[in-house]
Amino acid sequence: MSDLLEVDNLGKRFGGFVALENIALSVRAGERLGLIGPNGSGKSTLVNCICGTLRNEQGSVRFDGRVIDGLPAHARTRLGLARSFQLPRPFVSLNLMDNVRIPLLYTVAARGAHHAAAAVDDHCHRLLREVGLEAKARHLPRDLTQVEMRKLELARAMAAEPKLLIADEAMAGLTHSEIEDILTLLVRLNEQGVTVILIEHIMRAVMSFSRRLVVLVSGRKIADGNPEEVMRDPEVERAYLGQ
């Protein structure tokens, strides 16, 4: 299979602080990739550079065979690169239906597929049903619990019908059974053909989900490969457990 995402020699600084340095990463279509690293290692910065929220000063990102450097975030979403945010950022004044309606209107419809209003409604309901939020379709996000908020975040990312979904700490602060819920969702999505990058601190979730594991430490990639092998890597152990 060809590479869906190719990050080449990517670098990002904040003033004098080097957040990312020479990151090279390629993700094949259909993969389940785990991305881990201690706090402050640059995971979210990498996501932000890939998704266009931040601009990388160095290196380049290719997605689906085309260089996307310089493209604004919304254009990348339209190409099929969706993300969920680490802290859920729902549209607070819109109900859940309309929250998932936005990406439908602005990405799927913008790609040329014409949707009648009723078809869009159906689609929104289906998305909410998939994440188990259909009963609250007419509620505002403030009525949701933490786990529901994460599910909404995922539903909104899924609504853009992405080729690649980056889930940025979608499970932080959730209970065991809630984590299972979200994992099931992500696996199902992957089985439907969506490539998933999972960024997570909860190792149990990462190890059960990922087929490949990438470790970032202080803005550098220190390991990349089979999850079990990566976890046995002495450098990774050192980064996580200290010497």
Binding site: F14, F17, A19, N39, G40, S41, G42, K43, S44, T45, C51, G52, T53, P72, A73, H74, A75, T77, R78, A82, R83, F85, Q86, L87, R89, P90, F91, V92, S93, L94, D98, R101, I102, P103, L105, Y106, T107, A109, A110, H139, D143, T145, Q146, V147, R156, A157, A159, A160, E169, A172, G173, L174, T175, E178, H201
Partner: protein, 348 residues
């Protein structure tokens, strides 16, 4: 209701109001009505940017005056010489709208990266810059002001002020239809996401910059259109009052009092506050106006932060089934509270 029936209905309501006013046989009703209608246009225009997108524009007076002075400029250019009133008012309105639309686009472009108070200050600065330009531009009268000699009567209407009121009525109907159309379209959803969270909007595929430019352009154009016939209404245009604070304050206060999330809000606010001001001007004094606006604004911010529409919504939502829904949410809250709210942060 779909857009075309709504357009027809609003035209019928407008025609009925106009016919009703004709029956009174007193020109004052048109004189006062013009101002209220003008505020419907201004507050609806303000709300497209301020209410839908969440960008507070303090420069309403600037756009309004731009429309007014474009009329003066054209009047000086061709009309004052040989051909009085050669260019019909509707054309002047379109020209005024086009000019302020362009300036609105420019303002949007220059202030794209500003939010909140910074954006508001930038728009206020724009109005000050425009005023300085006009004061120093002799062609449109400079600080002395400019006279527009309007015809006494026009065609079938009799007095000219009736004609002006009718034009403003049509403009108000147009503005409300535009606002309502935006609200129910993809554009309206996009504007709402800009108001809520621009970063999340971008991630959802919304081209926020382009949408903001569309909003500043439409909003500016409508404000300019409201200003274009003003010289004909007032007869003597003077920079101080044309760039007056009243326009900025009223066009913010009216949507806030009515409710900013829907086209109905600015309409209610403008009718209430606009008529109140007209009544007070006649019965007490015009100087009390701003005091009344300030007082009402404080009252609404404290009592009904979402305006009259918010109050109505709150009242409608006190249905029994919703009460059950709320209790169910309450039951779920402990579970949510047990989970730490903030994820372990990952600083860049």
């Amino acid at each position: 209701m779909r857009s075309i029936p709504f357009l027809l209905l609003s035209l019928v309501v407008g025609a009925a109001a106009f016919a009703g006013a004709m029956q009174l046989g007193n020109d004052y009703i048109f004189f006062a009505g013009y101002v209220v209608l003008q505020y419907i246009v201004l507050s609806t225009a303000w709300n497209i940017l301020g209410g839908y997108c969440g960008y507070v524009n303090f420069g309403t007076a600037g756009f309004f005056a731009l429309g007014a002075y474009s009329t003066v400029a054209i009047y000086q250019l061709i009309e004052a010489n040989e051909f009085p009133h050669l260019v019909p008012l509707p054309v002047l309105i379109l020209i005024g709208g086009a000019i302020s639309g362009v300036v609105g686009f420019g303002m949007g472009y220059l202030t794209l990266r500003l939010r909140g108070a910074f954006f508001a200050i930038a728009t206020l600065a724009l109005a000050v810059v425009l005023e300085t330009l006009v004061v120093n531009w002799d062609f449109v009268g400079g600080s002395r002001g400019a006279y527009i000699i309007r015809p006494e009567t026009i065609g079938p209407f009799g007095s000219y002020v009736k004609y002006l009121a009718l034009l403003m009525l049509l403009l108000a109907v147009a503005a409300l239809n535009v606002a309502r159309l935006i609200e129910r379209s993809r554009l309206g959803y996009g504007f709402a996401t800009i108001r809520d969270d621009e970063l999340a909007a971008e991630a959802a595929g919304v081209p926020t910059l382009r949408l903001k430019l569309i909003a500043t352009t439409i909003s500016g154009a409508l404000m300019g259109m409201a200003g274009a016939p003003f010289p004909y209404y007032i007869g003597y245009l003077q920079p101080d009052s044309t760039f007056g604070l009243d326009y900025a304050v009223n066009s913010i206060a009216m949507p806030l009092i009515g409710g900013t999330t829907s086209w109905v809000g600015p309409l209610i606010g403008a009718i209430l506050l606009g008529s109140l001001q007209q009544i007070i001007t006649v019965t007490i004094s015009s100087a009390v106006n701003l005091l009344i606006v300030g007082g009402l604004l404080v009252f609404f911010v404290v009592v009904a932060p979402n305006g009259i529409l918010g109050l109505v919504h709150k009242y409608l939502q006190r249905k029994p089934d919703d009460f059950v829904g709320r209790r169910r949410t309450d039951l779920e809250t402990p579970a949510a509270a047990a989970a730490p709210d903030a994820a372990p942060g990952t600083p860049p």
